[in-house]
Amino acid sequence: MAENQVSLEMHGISKSFPGVQALKEVDLILHRGEILGLVGENGAGKSTLMNILTGILHSDTGIITLKGKPVNIENPRQAQIMGISIIHQELSVLPNLTVGQNVFLGREPRLPIHFLVDWKNLYYLAKEHFKKLNLDIDPHILLSELSVAQRQMVEVARALSFKADIVVMDEPTSTLTEMEVKNLFSLIHTLKEQGISIVFISHRLEEIFRIVDRVIVLRDGVLVGSAPISQVDPKQLVMMMVGRELKEMFPKESLPQKEKVLSVKNLKRGKDLKGVSFDLHRGEILGLAGLVGSGRTFVARAIFGADPLEEGEIWIEGKKVQIRSPQEAISYGISFLPEDRKAQGLFLKLPLSSNIAITDMKELSFLGIIIFKKLQELASSFVNKLKIRTPSIFQIVRNLSGGTQQKVVLAKWLALKPKVLILDEPTVGIDVATKAEIHALMNGLAKEGVAILMISSELPEVLGVSDRILVMHEGLISGEFLRQDATQDKIMLCATGGANNG
């Protein structure tokens, strides 16, 4: 049967970075037309393994065999030529080029005079390609004008535009919402039917169970298991990943109090926000759901003073306030975890300790002089609390795994001990175990009286964690549910605008 034809074999792959053994003797077999799930905690080595496969990194030891032939993959271009394409975990699209240029970068259609690009054809091909993928994006516009989720879809489109036998997807869904995920999955099935093999990495276990044929598990750079998906259940899988049993995924205990901490009234800004009002109570976790581009991020940014408002009022603890800058927001006790960690959250060239401490320097210094002991204590405490996987607190953040970086940003905002905590996609790219811990942490904070506004595109998360849920559609609140009344269907209906029409 075609399914059993081995398409790729990686054998004995090891890789170490200064202070970290990222991979130890890892073996991987991928069959033709197979969807292989690759799971593991943050920093387990998933991306490293795939980067070796695609020529971005070079392994210290090990052999890669493609269709039975040993190969040497020197650089990304070679990998492409050998029919391996990858969707990177971090967005790797170029914001100052157009969508179409991004998709075909490096393989532009040419005019008869060979060095001239056939722009017309390029945009035509892009459009056709998008049609096949059910994507509604104009290939002519600049990528910088797209939302994060749309950029992710462009990245997917780019990877699928190669005539590849193997497509690696490193957390392709982390910034996508339900609709796009569905779309992507039906695509993956089509590819599978064409005999294309897929490596699928995700921290969303329900996706793993929905789509993959077989799953392999990495823990601390070691391959700890491989099984057809039909032979494992989620509990077992998590146990393999973390090496111990996990209790409830979304434990929920706190009870909201009635005291209003934050009220916003009629927030308006162009067509992004068309009059948003809501209250947030002490000890409450308020979920904010909606489709990509519905304006959730704008609500958060407006409250935090990151964007100017045209109209609207913000009240904190019963007092009307003017918030014109993040600094002022912070002084009112508001914290804001932005959705794009690389662009808005991290200082990649600085050590982990500085990244965590930076919002809290007033506490950690005397007369402007840093008290290093305090700073290191703070950093260490968060490394422990959030299980941040790092060789030391002085590790440069650029060298951390994607999910670990997310934890660092989260730690930065928790360090402030805020009254109001706004989290925009807080668990993007975070592994299940840690996600549960973060949710527990949110519950703990809520119990202590922190008011939390959580934006999330992952409906199970919204449903599991929130006391109350708001749904946004095109810059307006289109629905509100108490925890006990909310269901995925009701939320989706409001999110797509269905509730307003009918």
Partner: protein, 319 residues
């Protein structure tokens, strides 16, 4: 609302043109001589050398680099070509055209060396081209022994001082250069890669582009246009001068930046670079025509720089 946005967009895309237009209007009201045909040709002529260097500089800056050596490389190529054309220093004479071609080749080579230092030696562009600036200046001084090389054949001088149909050669060459460069940047994959690299070198590499080759190409082009500028300057001065060219580096960078090219790469275009250069040329010419003494000219020049960029920034701010 929508109208306002498009107006802002218009302002942002054309602020360089507007500044140039503003200068023209101001100078025309102050002195009628400014808008005469001969003077406009003067402005173009006086801008041509800096603008030629700015062409290559734009390529380099689009990749996120900088080339501090353009002035000196230009002078160096001018001197060596003059040596070939007159026999100075070599003891034998080549014809004007072989000399000019060797001059251009030398420019491409020097630019290529900067590029190699950057892509293989991993030098920051600033340092690599600073080193090249010192070396090119050194070669010039050693070769010329610090003396100008005169006695150029008239066919050589023609390229800097001659004119075709009333249009001075430097202006003609500039127009050809800008058109070619514009074409290269917008119609070829090389041009696309230049922008891609400037956006993010690492990501461009991940996309399978051989970023090193493209970056190297940008520096070679910069060396080439620098040489062209140097040869034209040599023709314009009817002699190779070992000691000019110091100010040309910053001027060429300023032309790019006034035209809206980002220092961090990925943003900018060739026509606007030309406009940026013309802004500087028109300013110098206009101030001379209305008789502003030389010291205050500096102050005004500085103020106009700042004002120009302010206009650009303020108009491009999103609201």
């Amino acid at each position: 609302m929508a109208k306002e946005k498009t107006f802002n967009e218009f302002l942002r895309n054309s602020s360089a043109y507007l500044i140039l237009l503003g200068l023209v209007v101001i100078f025309t009201t102050l002195t009628p001589r400014f808008l005469s045909l001969t003077n406009l040709i003067n402005v173009f002529l006086q801008t041509s050398i800096v603008a030629l260097l700015a062409i290559g500089q734009t390529f380099v800056m689009l990749t996120g680099g900088i080339d501090l050596s353009v002035g000196m490389v230009g002078i160096c190529c001018g001197a060596i070509a003059a040596g070939f054309a007159t026999g100075y220093g070599f003891g034998f004479t080549l014809g004007t055209y072989p000399a000019l071609i060797l001059g251009l080749l030398l420019g491409a080579t020097l630019g290529g060396i900067s590029g190699l230092l950057i892509v293989l030696g991993n030098f920051p562009p600033f340092v690599a081209t600073l080193v090249m600036m010192a070396i090119a200046q050194g070669i010039t001084l050693v070769f010329t022994q610090g003396r100008p090389i005169a006695g150029l054949p008239s066919s050589f001088i023609f390229w800097g001082s001659g004119s075709v149909g009333g249009i001075p050669m430097p202006v003609l060459l500039l127009v050809i250069g800008v058109v070619l460069a514009y074409f290269l940047l917008t119609c070829t994959s090389f041009g696309l890669y230049i922008y891609a690299i400037g956006g993010n070198k690492e990501m461009a590499r991940l996309s399978g582009i051989s970023a090193r080759k493209v970056e190297l190409g940008a520096y070679i082009i910069s060396g080439l246009t620098a040489a062209l500028g140097g040869l034209v300057l040599t023709g314009r001065l009817a002699s190779a001068q070992p000691n000019v060219g110091e100010g040309l580096n910053l001027d060429s960078i300023a032309a790019c930046v006034l035209g809206g090219t980002s220092l961090f790469g990925g943003k900018g275009n060739m026509l606007k670079t030309l406009v940026g250069a013309l802004i500087m040329g028109a300013l110098a010419n206009g101030l001379n025509l209305i008789g502003v003494p030389s010291y205050p000219q500096l102050v005004i020049k500085g103020l106009v720089f700042i004002a120009a960029v302010t206009l650009y920034i303020v108009s491009s701010r999103k609201h």
